[in-house]
């Protein structure tokens, strides 16, 4: 990943004649592009397994404490959650448009879409912070100050442990994604990307979409399971 996003070294051209972004270990730009793209896909497979451990824990405890999870889920703010879901889906659109702009050589559009994606990511994190603040205020943060009325305090605490672990890990990925986008913006301003070479934009796009998809699973599993209880 680090290789895909960072610019090619300038001394690579000394080893063999080729475009400046071509690193010395590759023969052709296509080979380099294939490698970067495959590298990101393999990394995303790893990420699926990484989140998978938490999803497994969620599945086990939800089947064990179905009622308690539904009750606990009702204390999440569905309005903010829905708003954030929309924000992320739109950010996926702007990211896809950024890749398209890079591949067609529209430098100003590329910059604009990258900045829009970053801004939407920032909005998501801001809303998330507000939600965390509410949970803190309502004593729903697991630990000694956790308060949950009714008979389900213990399993509800497990629900909120998983809620903070899963959304926290997701938010950490968002922060990393915004960091990657920052690097892309700086490089794009120098005109590094064009139809001949936009692999970093493409692989960062893959990463961004993946993080969005994780949220698409998190949102119903955490926010929507209590809707049928009245």
């Amino acid at each position: 990943m680090a290789d895909a996003t960072a610019p090619a070294t300038s001394d690579a051209s000394a080893a063999h004649a080729g475009p400046r972004e071509l690193q010395h270990q590759f023969d052709t730009v296509e080979q380099q592009r294939d490698a970067s793209s495959l590298g990101m896909w393999v990394f995303l497979v790893t990420e699926i397994l990484f989140f998978g451990g938490l999803f497994l824990a969620y599945t086990v405890y939800r089947s064990q404490y179905a009622r308690a999870f539904a009750e606990a889920s009702r204390h999440l703010d569905i309005t903010l959650g829905t708003f954030n879901t929309v924000v992320l889906i739109v950010s996926s659109l702007t990211m896809a448009l950024a890749v398209f702009s890079a591949s067609t050589g529209r430098r100003r559009a590329l910059l604009a879409f990258l900045l829009a994606t970053m801004a939407l990511g920032g909005v998501f994190l801001g809303v998330k912070a507000v939600e965390y603040g509410h949970k803190f205020h309502d004593h729903l943060v697991p630990g000694p100050h956790f308060r949950f009325p009714g008979p389900y305090a213990r399993p509800a605490e497990i629900f909120y442990s998983l809620y903070f672990a899963m959304t926290g890990l997701h938010a950490a990925h968002m922060v990393i994604g915004i960091g990657l986008l920052t690097v892309l913006v700086l490089q794009a301003r120098k005109g590094r990307y064009g139809p001949g070479y936009y692999t970093p934009v493409e692989v960062c796009g893959l990463y961004w979409h993946f993080v969005d998809i994780v949220w698409i699973f998190l949102f119903p599993l955490l926010y929507l399971i209590g809707r049928h209880i009245h």
């Binding site: 270990q25 080979q31 490698a35 495959l38 790893t46 990484f50 497994l56 497990i158 672990a165």
Partner: protein, 548 residues
């Protein structure tokens, strides 16, 4: 394997010493900032050797304590820390990175005719991540250690233990990313960087086994990472994810832990199997028997390895039905493993076998791995496992796989490729002697433990009844011999770097691409990209003289 390599003849008159990866640049910075996969491999070699001897030191203290039935050398609490630190360091900081990060790193690009791995900077980053994780764990060692066992079973690790669980867990968590990035790098490299003509079925079996290993790295390591994260968070914030008092399920931890840690056993042994495939063909001067079977056996072991974790939990309260399923699936792993052993044996049949040091280690591997594998079948059997669970039988079984298998393969590989890595020949007589010492010391250490375990001596205790003393004394004596057997190669390999005879490009008359370039290789590995036109291992008996 290749016929069209156009490297200049290395035996050209030495007007000035040829430029190779070791003398291309000098200085600490040129090593710490290198992107050359060969130098990174040597960085790993130095680091894991340190951890090997540190882990060995803990093993020595364990064996010294067990010399007498009374717990007289250390207290039970200290003993708990000793076997925990021995396990943690040997598993996570030596065995898992050993062959992939050193030999795999050095050889995979050369075996496929590439100038480097696909992501050289990522490769260097992997080493730094490994070192950061190692520092966390070393910090825990220095500040009093950790006593949970290398398995970190909850709720002991999250609620009871008052040792440095978090620092150790964070160290392993960080080091896990080094494994993931190495595996990712190998997968991408093998997919995209092969030389012209090098099809999948012309790849050396070493590369196949590393491909299988990399799949496990990428698929299993993230699970232990997130599991240890949960343990650390639970301990830090007193959550109840695994704590039954707070509604959590400690068995869930065991499932998650073994989902990684059983495949991790194959991370340790698959690369060693790859090494043995290279050694057996080279020193029998024969093509491998059943190339595709050996190649797919690696993939088969990697896939089946993900389906057997429950055999660690037969007595944990898992349902008997689940136990039966896991038992049957565990038996299945024996099939691809046996395919390999049979095919190596068939490869040697009617071959021109030369008893060089690497081949001695290959013999050691095959014999000891077979014993370790067969006793694994005992343990996969529900009834027998209930009898020997948590006894020295288990300890002996997995040491036959990890020490008798993985370390034998590692040492065999280090000797075989030492001329390529260092450009120097090691002293053959000393090396054969050391291989013999290792083999004898190993068996004297661990065979008595099978008997001890069967008689009922439990693991993880620092005192034991009088009647077990004779076998324990044998084991401790064996451990001392084994320790000497590891120190001898350490000495003569370092010695040979300065005083050894210069190695020719291909001292063993091997067919692998890595031998088609000078020893030590130039930084870019090959002066011209090789073109591969033939299968691997096209040996004909007695044709090539071994000059090493």
């Amino acid at each position: 394997m290749s016929t069209a390599v156009v490297a200049p003849p290395p035996e050209a008159p030495a007007v000035e010493p040829p430029v190779h990866y070791l003398n291309a640049t000098y200085g600490v910075k040129s090593w710490l900032l290198t992107r050359d996969h060969k130098r990174i491999a040597l960085l790993y070699l130095a680091s894991i050797t340190f951890f090997f001897f540190l882990g060995g030191l803990f093993a020595l203290l364990i064996r010294l304590e067990l010399l007498t039935p009374a717990g007289d050398l250390v207290q039970s609490q200290t003993y708990n820390k000793l076997f925990t630190m021995h396990g943690v360091i040997m598993v996570f900081f030596f065995l898992i990175p050993s062959i992939p990060a050193v030999l795999g790193n050095f050889l995979i690009p050369m075996m496929i005719g590439a100038r480097d791995l696909a992501f050289p900077r990522l490769n260097l980053l992997s080493w730094y991540i490994y070192m950061v994780g190692a520092l966390f764990t070393l910090w825990a060692v220095v500040h009093g250690g950790v006593d949970t066992g290398w398995t970190f079973y909850t709720p002991y690790s999250t609620a009871s233990s008052n040792t440095h669980v978090i620092a150790t867990a964070v160290g392993i968590f960080i080091t896990g990313f080094s494994s993931i990035l190495t595996g990712l790098n190998f997968i991408v490299t093998i997919h995209t960087m092969r030389a012209p003509g090098l099809t999948w079925f012309r790849l050396p079996l070493f590369v196949w086994s590393h491909y299988a290993t990399s799949l496990i790295f990428v698929l299993a390591t993230p699970v232990i990472a997130v599991t240890l994260l949960m343990v650390a968070v639970e301990r830090l914030f007193h959550l109840g994810i695994f704590d039954p008092r707070l509604g959590g399920d400690p068995i869930l931890f065991q499932h998650l832990f073994w989902f990684y840690s059983h495949p991790a056993v194959y991370i340790m042994v698959l690369p060693a199997m790859g090494v043995v495939s290279e050694l057996v063909t080279t020193f029998s001067r024969k093509n491998i028997f059943g190339y595709k079977f050996v190649a797919f056996a690696s993939i088969g072991i990697a896939v089946l390895g993900f389906l057997v974790w429950g055999h660690h939990m037969f007595v944990s309260g898992q349902s008997v039905f689940a136990g039966m399923i896991f038992s049957i699936l565990s038996f299945l792993v024996a099939i691809p493993s046996a395919v390999k052993v049979f095919n190596w044996t068939a490869t040697m049949y009617k071959g021109s076998i030369s008893y060089r040091t690497p081949m001695l280690y290959a013999f050691g591997f095959i014999g000891l791995f077979t014993i370790g594998g067969l006793t694994g079948l005992f343990l996969a059997t529900l009834g027998v496992d209930v009898h020997v669970h948590d006894t020295y039988f288990i300890v002996a079984h997995f040491h036959y796989i990890m020490v008798g298998g993985a370390i034998m393969g590692y040492l065999g590989g280090i000797h075989y490729w030492w001329p390529k890595i260092s450009g120097k020949l090691y002293p053959e007589a000393w090396a054969r002697f050391a291989a013999l010492v290792v083999f004898l010391g190993f068996n004297l250490t661990f065979f008595p433990q099978f008997i001890l375990g069967y008689l009922g001596m439990p693991r993880r205790y620092h005192a034991y009844p009088e009647e077990f003393q004779v076998l324990n004394v044998m084991s401790t004596a064996g451990a001392s011999i084994l320790g000497a057997g590891y120190i001898i190669p350490m000495i003569y390999l370092v010695w040979s770097m300065r005083y050894g005879r210069a190695a020719p490009a291909n001292p063993w008359g091997s067919t692998g691409l890595e031998w088609d370039t000078p020893s030590p290789p130039p930084t870019e590995n090959f002066l011209t990209t090789p073109v591969v036109t033939d299968e691997p291992y096209h040996y004909s008996p007695g044709e090539v003289e071994i000059v090493g």
